[in-house]
Amino acid sequence: MTTQPAAQKIDVLHCPWRARCSMVVMGMGQLLYGQIVKGLVFLLAECGLLYFFITTGFEYLKGFFTLGTQEENLWLGVKGDNSMTMLILGIFAFILLGFFIILYLVNVHDALSTARDVRAGKPVRHIGRTLDAMADEKFHITALTLPVVGVMIFSILPIVFMILLAFTDLGGSVVYPKLASWSLSAWQKIFSVGQLGATFLKILRWNIVWAVLATAINFFGGLALALLLNKKNVIGKKIWRAFPVLAYAIPGFISMVGFKFMFSQSGPINSLLTQAGKDTIFFLTNDASAKWWARGIGLFVNAWISIPSVMLMATGILGNINTDLYEAADIDGATGMQKFFKITLPFVVFSITPVIIGMFVGSFNNFGIFFFLRSGTYSLYGDYFLASDTDLLINWLYNLSVSNNYYSIGAAISLIIFVITGTLSLAVYVRTAAYKQEDTFQ
């Protein structure tokens, strides 16, 4: 027998029989090398996963494609398939399958590296050494495991589910016990000329107007407030700043529900109007005359809640402006207006463009304002489909998919929202990436 050179490569095709065992049965190689704990963990994981896939997992995978084959039949006492559950369990099984494959690869990789250690004459790593490695070289993997699992289950799984849901016909009349199937019917309904399509266009138009107005008001309001509090002649800045911070600190829903009471039909403002002998105004009531009142109040309440945080942020940024610029401007005889438009505004806008876009996206998807102000009622006029004239797309999405059962249409709308906000954010992301590069050139 020839002695093998220590440097000979060990890969999947050329490796000792003990490592090869791991390719057949996970953990076997590790056990043969004497890594009992690690081997058992792999072995148990394989047994568990195989058991899962043989007993139920395979059915889940099949159900993902069929979305159910057996309709419930109460006469014959047949239990039916639930398409929605099958879809989500199908996705879950796919994620688990992916995890299985990754685990298998990790196992093979681990066996090969142990084989390399043995070939090089190093001792086999035992459990204590493995745990040390988890706290050191592999710290990032150990630390990220739990966050990744959490995000997988509670963020990625639901979002994948919703994306796929948009391409089924689930919802409306197709709910349990009826079986769903894959289809594009939701998209056809949204882009057709029916009531649904008309409602979509009306809401989209108002949503864009809202996002632009709300962002502008909040940004300039916050900036103006920060500038005002930054003025040299203001004494007791901390005290003045406390008032907006108070508004910022109160939980948002309390402010919104509070304002709902303030503007309600029997609220203080209307009661003052009646005392003065005037008619009450329908501020937020479900009435056609309330349309612009409610929209205006929405903008005001949104400003009341958001301006303080913009103010705090702008204060931080204003502190970074080089005061020499202002002194130079003073010497040149610039007026206050000129200083604002030529120095302050450009500086603030450039340093927080990403935040402005973030604010725009946030306003575009501002669910709370009209949900709390108008309690999620639907307009009884104006031909809206399950929405009110102040609702944004996100409110409509909630009405459709959570309050009523229009799942696939709701999912399609959330995809549209994603495309709109995603395009905007991406444009800014690319821009800031370029901006950062610009910095490195300087």
Binding site: I88, G258, P268, P354
Partner: protein, 334 residues
């Protein structure tokens, strides 16, 4: 120089003319409110015109600026404080219903509402005490868990370069663009499958589990801690776990405080997820319960709100320094 002089003179002239016009209009206007407003404007403009005649140019400009600044400050502060004051006074109202109020303020005050808030649950309709304990449980647990997860994620993403790091970065970026509760239907089904519907633990898992999505602020903070310190410790033979617990964590107190506050405040005031997942009234959190109260129970709503707003407001005021730090860290990094 003559330019500036002319400007002041013309401003004075415009103020005079506008003041007279407003005065005349106010005199002619029939409506009570409009008349008062116009007369106030007239008074303001005329006083300035008169003052500018009496005072010199320079001191006039300064006084003008001072008084205007404070007038605006008072107005703005009033806008921010008034609703809070209104709610606080309403919580002390003797009669509970909004219908009994004369204008903004209740006709009589008492501390009764705060007492009944905890002792009387209106036949099981508004069990505030239970809600409050539920909220406290959910918020504290998700605060601890969520903070640990976010800090770990932010730290690893800042300090380690590993395979799949970019994939993680891009995935979170894209996921963040989806509307927040787009997956609510799915979350309900998942929780149903896990047997967690109507359990407070469902909320804790949800809040803590989705928290790492917002790791960017924390990453931005860790990026500012010099790498050199990390490397020096590495050379001295410290393991990564040791560096994290012994060096990084003690240096990141402001960020930990900010993260914990945000992780606490969110469950404290969220309505949607509890509303979706908790079906029994006794399982609700305060936010859902307060949202369910109608105008008949306005004082109870106000008292309940004040009671849960006070601790969080105090926290915000004590930690405002950290919040500004967090906000600007997030702002500059994007």
């Amino acid at each position: 120089m003559s330019d500036i002089k002319e400007k002041v003179t013309s401003k004075r002239f415009i103020a005079l003319v506008l003041g007279c016009a407003a005065f005349a209009a106010g005199g002619l206007a029939a409506g009570g409110v409009l008349r008062t407003v116009l007369l106030c404007v007239a008074l303001y403009l005329l006083v300035w015109a008169a003052l500018s005649l009496v005072l010199g140019k320079r001191s006039f400009g300064r006084a003008f600026d001072d008084v205007n600044t404070y007038l605006v400050l008072i107005a703005v502060s009033a806008v921010f404080v008034f609703p809070c004051l209104w709610l606080i006074l309403a919580s002390f109202s003797k009669s509970g219903s909004l219908y009994d109020f004369k204008g903004f303020f209740p006709p009589a005050y008492s501390i009764e509402t705060f007492r009944t808030l905890f002792t009387d649950d209106v036949n099981g309709l508004y069990p505030y005490k239970t809600w409050f304990l539920n909220t406290l449980y959910v918020s504290s647990c998700s605060c601890v868990l969520g903070t640990v997860l976010v800090i770990l994620t932010g730290y690893v993403m800042s300090r380690f370069r590993f395979k799949g790091r970019n994939a993680v970065k891009q995935t979170t970026l894209v996921l963040g663009m989806f509307p927040g509760f787009m997956g609510m239907t799915a979350i309900y089904i998942i929780m149903n499958q896990l047997g967690l519907v109507n359990r407070l633990e469902a909320l804790i898992f949800l809040y803590a589990g989705t928290a790492p999505m917002g790791y960017l602020v924390q990453k931005g903070y860790f990026d500012t801690i010099p790498f050199a310190m990390h490397e020096a410790a590495r050379i001295d033979g410290a393991s990564n776990l040791k560096i994290f617990t012994k060096i990084t964590l003690p240096l990141s107190k402001p960020m930990i405080v900010y993260t914990a506050l945000m992780q606490f405040a969110w469950p404290w005031s969220d309505v949607l997820l509890p509303k979706l997942l908790l079906k029994n009234r006794t399982n609700w959190t305060v936010a859902v319960g307060l949202f369910s109260m109608g105008e008949d129970y306005f004082a109870r709503f106000a008292a309940g709100s004040v009671f849960i707003a006070v601790p969080i407001v105090i926290l915000y005021f004590c930690l405002v320094k950290y919040i500004v730090g967090g906000l600007t860290a997030g702002a500059v990094k994007g």
